[in-house]
């Protein structure tokens, strides 16, 4: 009887099967896998079906950082298997629940091991020293694994050094349900080979053999061919033996629904700003003059999927909360990299990050949130950064670069020393255009020439200091860029907030009506009435607390919405904006 334990580690591929930019088609006990090695050498073992239409991901495209489904181009990130882009919804950031099922992957003895629900470590094999082994060609056999193991008991091969002789003495050293170690001895020549039998399905297996040491280079091919020949002959015998027998039914894999932690509704809490992740400051360095770079690695487990343009809230030791864009390129999912500029008039955020936080410290951060998503269907994308505004645009540039899409990154900075994340910028090649030391007048002129050639299908992304964004948006509009092609993110909202009005708010879905008095925000009152509402910057810049307006006239005071969106009166930033009408009805 075939042992179908889901807890047991099995090899499902040889390490050499996982070429870069390739997707290996694996299977264990009836369950198929898409197995791919990212350029950073992380081995991904995923359920072999796209979450969209169920197409096998093993025919997808491994671009070194992400796996793209062949069917509708959904992209999934290295390591997290979270969806990062859906071509049919180019303006949206995919929901975090769109995350494929992943399986443990361990490389050992030249093989890639997995199990559906592994218990313990990949078993250690006596007599096999990591590193000096010779992995044989895997031999697929159309027979059940237990039958294969049975036949392997009488398998014969010649030790290295006596390949041309015949009749080596064979000893079965150890054997269990899926593996056995055979020793071949002839005179003084002795070779140990451990065979693992991978149960692909009820009636399919792969024999994966490994020799206890590398033969001399001159003999290597002869040894590989010898074993391939012997194992192929063994396969013939096994397949002949089982040919007349009734084939067992294929194993039906069970497809789990979305994991519980993704399917659950978040618990309501009185405070909307949550810091569910704990990260360690793995590295802190001077990313440029006055800009500290931080690499944040998770404490246990992994990090959630991010997309270019996403930011995280960092909860600091002094109680301050600040938003920082994730600088990572696609597939770089083992850590978050952020850049923090020291603000001369710091209210406690940047000075804390610069002066107090050190390598090894633990910080609480929110999950990444993307209110500045990047379209990837533009005929050409212009990215325009001012100063520390480079951070979200650098993430975008790396994503566009990885996909070979047309773009230019224009980086306005005071001087070379103030250009942050040099090594990432250098990776962008000729797409990077620095503009150094320009005064406002020269900046305006440069922007004016940059924006002079709008063509249908182009998109513009802006991030930088308020005055520069104002100027850039104005120039782009003058140059004929439509508002929906201009995307921007402000660092902060410098508008003077007028919170003197009093009005009534009705929440249509929650069936609640309440007053918002002067001095309080809609967001405060929504929460006070027990409705959970996400928020991040709470000053009208980041876009997290956006609500849909069903009725009434908003009094916009934010810098997130563009003018068309503001005029339409259908959206409101609940942290700063209020009502001109006596009553607002929100879709909450």
């Amino acid at each position: 009887m075939l042992d179908q334990s889901r807890n047991r580690w099995h090899p499902i591929a040889a390490s050499h099967d996982l070429a870069y930019r390739h997707v290996f088609h694996g299977q264990l006990l009836g369950r198929e896998f898409a197995v791919w090695r990212a350029d950073d050498d992380f081995v991904n073992i995923w359920e072999n079906r796209c979450l969209h239409r169920g197409v096998r991901l093993s025919i997808g495209i491994n671009d070194g950082r992400e796996l793209k489904c062949q069917y509708h181009g959904w992209r999934y990130s290295n390591r997290t298997a979270g969806c990062t882009y859906i071509p049919a919804h180019p303006a949206d950031a995919p929901a975090r629940t769109i995350t494929n099922r992943t399986f443990s992957a361990v490389e050992r003895y030249g093989f890639v091991w997995t199990a559906e629900e592994p218990v313990g470590e990949v078993p250690g094999i006596a007599g096999l020293a990591e590193g000096d082994l010779l992995v044989l060609r895997g031999i697929p056999v159309n027979a059940a694994a237990d039958r294969v193991v049975e036949h392997l008991q009488t398998h014969r091969f010649q030790p290295v050094g006596a390949l041309d002789a015949d009749g080596a003495e064979m000893v079965v050293e150890t054997a269990d349900a899926f593996s056995l170690a055979l020793l071949a001895r002839q005179g003084t020549a002795e070779t140990r080979c451990v065979f693992f039998v991978q149960p692909v399905d009820a009636a399919r297996s792969v024999i994966r053999g490994v020799l206890d040491r590398q033969p001399e280079a001159a003999q290597r091919m002869a040894v590989l061919r010898h074993h391939n020949e012997r194992l192929s002959a063994l396969r013939e015998r096994i397949e002949d033996a089982v040919r007349g027998e009734p084939a067992p039914a294929p194993i039906e894999p069970v497809f789990d629904p979305v994991p519980a932690e993704l399917a659950e509704m978040p618990q309501p809490t009185p405070h909307g700003r949550k810091a569910t992740l704990r990260v360690e400051v793995a590295r802190k360095w001077a990313a440029a003059d006055g800009i500290a770079g931080f690499e944040l690695t998770p404490l246990g487990g992994g990090l959630p999927t991010f997309q270019p343009g996403a930011h995280i809230d960092v909860h600091m030791p002094n109680g301050e909360i600040r938003q920082y864009s994730v600088v990572n390129g696609p597939g770089e999912s083992d850590r978050f990299t952020i850049g923090v500029k020291r603000e001369p008039e710091s209210a406690g955020g940047s000075s804390c990050m610069h002066d107090t936080v050190r390598e090894g410290d633990v910080l609480a951060i929110s999950e990444p949130r993307n209110n500045f998503p990047l379209r990837r269907d533009a005929s050409k994308t212009l990215l325009v950064a001012g100063g520390i505004g480079i951070t979200p645009l650098l993430a975008m540039a790396q994503a566009l670069h990885n996909q070979d899409l047309a773009f230019e990154l224009h980086y306005f900075a005071r001087d070379e020393a103030q250009m942050a994340f040099r090594e990432r910028l250098d990776g962008l090649g000729a797409t990077l255009h620095p503009h150094l030391g320009l005064d406002p007048q020269a900046t305006g002129d440069t922007l004016s020439s940059l924006f002079s050639t709008y063509q249908d299908g182009m998109h513009l992304y802006l991030c930088g200091p308020g005055p520069m964004l104002e100027a850039a948006r104005r120039v782009a509009a003058e140059r004929g860029w439509p508002e929906q092609a201009i995307h921007f993110e402000y660092f902060k909202n410098t508008n003077e907030i007028d919170d003197s009005s009093t009005f009534e708010v009705a929440l249509a879905r929650s069936c609640l009506t309440f007053q918002v008095p002067a001095g309080r925000t809609i967001l405060d009152m929504v929460r006070e009435n027990g409705v959970d509402m996400p928020s991040s910057c709470e000053q009208g810049a980041c876009g997290t607390c956006l609500a849909t307006v069903i009725e009434g006239e908003p009094d916009h005071q934010d810098v997130y919405l563009n003018d068309t969106e503001k005029r339409s009166g259908t959206k409101i930033m609940t942290c700063v904006s209020r009502a001109r009408s006596a009553r607002l009805v929100l879709d909450l």
Binding site: D39, I61, M221
Partner: protein, 215 residues
């Protein structure tokens, strides 16, 4: 200009389109309604090719049938680099011819299975599939040892030859005949390598691969 009598879904026609795309050769196609029209058995087509088979090319009056033969002609005539059909290397030419014949075996098995599943041809489907698996085992073994020896292609050459083009299409389309390539990881990697050749084009059922990793 070269005229290709062509059926969009034919792997044998595709291998000519593929080579001509790689070589940058201009050509025009004459669509032949293979299914359901059976135009390849019509009188006008039988005058071109009495065997009643696609593809056929007409290059300035030279009418040639048989995909493998046409590959030989096109590469010998239009490949200035001389790598696709290495005329001056007898050993390689022998290898190329050996794999061209192997490609005929793939057509007789994997392609026949696909015609059975897709276009309702009456063939012994089990024999076709078993025959294709037998060939794929041989091909996978050859390619695996090639990888171990630092050889990327079917023949012992640094560059691909028409042997690779001849074998590739019906290997890639085998799933449409119910023949999985899961047991042939070295074949799957070789297919990726071929898809990265400059000038590679797709057909229905044959998808692109990603760029290779920068060295």
């Amino acid at each position: 200009m070269i005229k290709l009598y062509d059926y969009e879904l034919s792997g044998n026609c595709y291998k000519l389109r593929l080579l001509m795309s790689i070589l940058g050769v201009d050509y025009e196609t004459v669509p032949v309604d293979f299914y359901p029209g059976r135009e390849h058995k019509s009188d006008w087509f039988l005058r071109l090719n009495p065997l009643g088979q696609l593809p056929v090319v007409d290059d300035d009056g030279l009418v040639l049938r048989d995909a493998q033969a046409i590959l030989v002609y096109l590469a010998a005539r239009y490949d200035p680099s001389g790598t696709w059909y290495p005329r001056d290397d007898p050993r390689l030419l022998g290898e190329v011819s050996q794999w061209l014949a192997f490609a005929d075996g793939i057509t007789a098995t994997a392609s026949a299975a696909r015609l059975h599943d897709g276009l309702f041809y009456d063939v012994d489907i089990d024999a076709c599939r078993a025959g294709a698996h037998r060939l794929f085992r041989i091909l996978d073994e050859h390619l695996w040892f090639g990888e171990q020896e630092g050889r990327d292609w079917l023949c012992a050459a640094a560059a691909p030859t028409i042997a690779d083009i001849a074998c590739f299409p019906y290997v890639m389309l085998s799933e449409e005949g119910g023949i999985s390539r899961q047991d042939y990881p070295a074949i799957r990697r070789w297919c990726d390598r071929l898809k990265r050749v400059d000038g590679f084009i797709v057909m229905s059922g044959i998808f692109p691969a990603s760029r290779a990793r920068a060295a």
